[in-house]
């Protein structure tokens, strides 16, 4: 990391740490939602088809425990993406005028988004662990992280392209529909519909369901699909930001 990137990263973190209420929210919101959601769900029996073709016989309480972390991480990471990028658009152009390279400021902002997503992920997984134990932690945690990063990138893109208010509406609505409804095995026949497969949450949420209820890993193609979405969105985000904060001569 170059000296200037380190300075920009440090300033980015300092900006977030000036808002202790935000840190409190990033801890309290997952703690409350996940705990309460699991607590109020009835243990009604339910069969869940897994990516490898296996069927897991479980109950609604367990399924809600499995998906709530991803829902919480998606919507928090999405909002973080929106507002960190809004802040970048306001301040980083000046840094570039002052001699920073666009890639240095972008790396710093992405570092802040990644760190905030990891905070939310850690809290969410720790809270989940009190009430629900996935069959296989590694794919479960990796899939939740992938969901968070995809939505952080979508939030950053929305923040850069459509303005603060519209981006906020989008980041409250899209994760709710994608992760909370379309990919949620609590609804319908527990298998995502055709239209749901076109959404960014499909791949990682199938990996999450596999990790939650199967000790063997059978979701390779879904993992690749999720990583593809993440790589594509991250690339587009960097390009859009580079264009937004870059300074043209003249």
């Amino acid at each position: 990391m170059s000296g200037r990137t380190a300075i920009a990263t440090r300033m980015g973190f300092r900006e977030q740490l000036r808002r202790p209420f935000l840190l409190a929210l990033l801890v309290v919101v997952p703690l409350f939602f996940i705990t309460r959601s699991i607590a109020i769900t009835e243990p009604t029996p339910r069969a869940v088809p897994l990516p490898g073709g296996e069927i897991a016989f479980t109950d609604m309480k367990e399924i809600h425990g499995a998906v709530m972390a991803a829902i919480t991480v998606a919507f928090l990471a999405g909002l973080i993406g929106v507002f960190v990028m809004q802040s970048a658009l306001e301040g980083d152009r000046r840094l570039v005028v002052a001699g920073f390279r666009p890639r240095e400021t972008i790396a710093a902002r992405l570092g802040v988004v990644l760190a905030a997503t990891l905070v939310v992920l850690s809290v969410s997984l720790a809270v989940t662990a009190f009430d629900f134990t996935p069959a296989s932690w590694l794919p479960f945690a990796a899939a939740t992280l992938c969901v968070g990063l995809i939505y952080a990138a979508l939030g950053a893109l929305a923040g850069a392209l459509v303005g603060r208010l519209a981006a906020t509406y989008l980041m409250l609505f899209v994760p709710m529909v994608d992760i909370g409804v379309a990919q949620n095995p609590m609804f319908g026949d527990a298998n995502p519909d055709l239209w749901a497969k076109l959404l960014p949450g499909y791949g990682p949420m199938r990996v999450l369901v596999d990790g939650a209820f199967s000790q063997t890993f059978d979701a390779t193609s879904e993992l690749v699909l999720g990583l593809g979405w993440l790589a594509g969105l991250a690339t587009i985000t960097v390009l859009v930001l580079r264009r937004a904060i870059g300074v043209r001569s003249g």
Partner: protein, 239 residues
């Protein structure tokens, strides 16, 4: 046109200055109603609740109006403090600035409620359309107040958005007929509006007492919103 009407219409235009925002205010309630129609009954059953069918879809329309109105109320207060103070100092006064803000928020709340209501009519139909329309607008009015309270307490947009979403999710998870009841269900601000909406969706009339409570809660919410707008636009003294 008087200064109040000019300010009110300017606040609406300010909010809708990008066409995408207007599109989202119409499309999100419609899509929310369509998406939730298929799953809200399942969700309520999973939580031990009893709401199902048309009543569940009707409740989804209320929630759609609520969360958009909450965010709207928050941004109306939080992102316009400086401008409102200047308008107030320039002669409009905090009372007329607050009244113009409330009017603008209610117009936008009406747009959102109309989109949710029409989506509900087209998706499943509703036995008591007038009751449902009033109840959906009550959801929006109550959440404009909630958003305004959050905006008056928290100025940071990220913190405020998360807080509004937190209240909204808390309300959804505690709503009547969504869970097996008890606890916080009785004290949530949208409880009576949800009762009206569920009854309208299920083709039943609501007792007069429920209408009274909804009107009272919406009026309290508007008063709180007015106070928040007034406080935000009031000059803090100084040169």
């Amino acid at each position: 046109m008087n200064a109040f009407a000019i300010a009110g219409s300017s606040f609406v235009r300010e909010h809708l200055r990008t066409p995408l925002t207007l599109l989202l205010l119409i499309a999100i309630p419609a899509l929310f109603v369509l998406a939730s129609a298929a799953v809200l009954g399942d969700f309520a059953r999973a939580l031990g609740g009893t709401v199902a069918g048309q009543a569940a879809t009707a409740l989804g329309a209320g929630w759609a109006a609520a969360f958009l109105a909450g965010v709207l109320g928050f941004f109306q207060v939080a992102s316009s403090r400086e401008a409102d103070r200047r308008l107030s100092l320039a002669g409009l006064g905090p009372t007329r600035v607050a009244a113009a803000r409330i009017s603008a928020a209610l117009v936008l709340g009406l747009v959102v409620s109309a989109a949710a209501f029409l989506s509900l009519l087209l998706r499943t139909g509703v036995e008591h359309p007038a009751h449902a329309a009033v109840a959906i607008f009550a959801f929006a009015a109550i959440y404009i107040g909630i958003g305004a309270i959050v905006g008056s307490l928290v100025s940071d947009p990220l913190e405020g958005s998360i807080l509004v979403a937190f209240v909204f999710m808390f309300d959804v998870f505690s709503g009547p007929a969504m869970t097996s009841g008890g606890g916080l269900t009785a004290v949530m601000p949208t409880r009576k509006a949800a009762d009206l909406l569920i009854a309208a969706g299920a083709g039943q009339s609501s007792p007069l007492g429920d209408w009274f409570w909804v009107a009272l809660i919406a009026a309290i919410s508007m008063s709180v919103a007015f106070t928040s707008f007034w406080a935000a636009s009031r000059s803090r003294g100084g040169p």
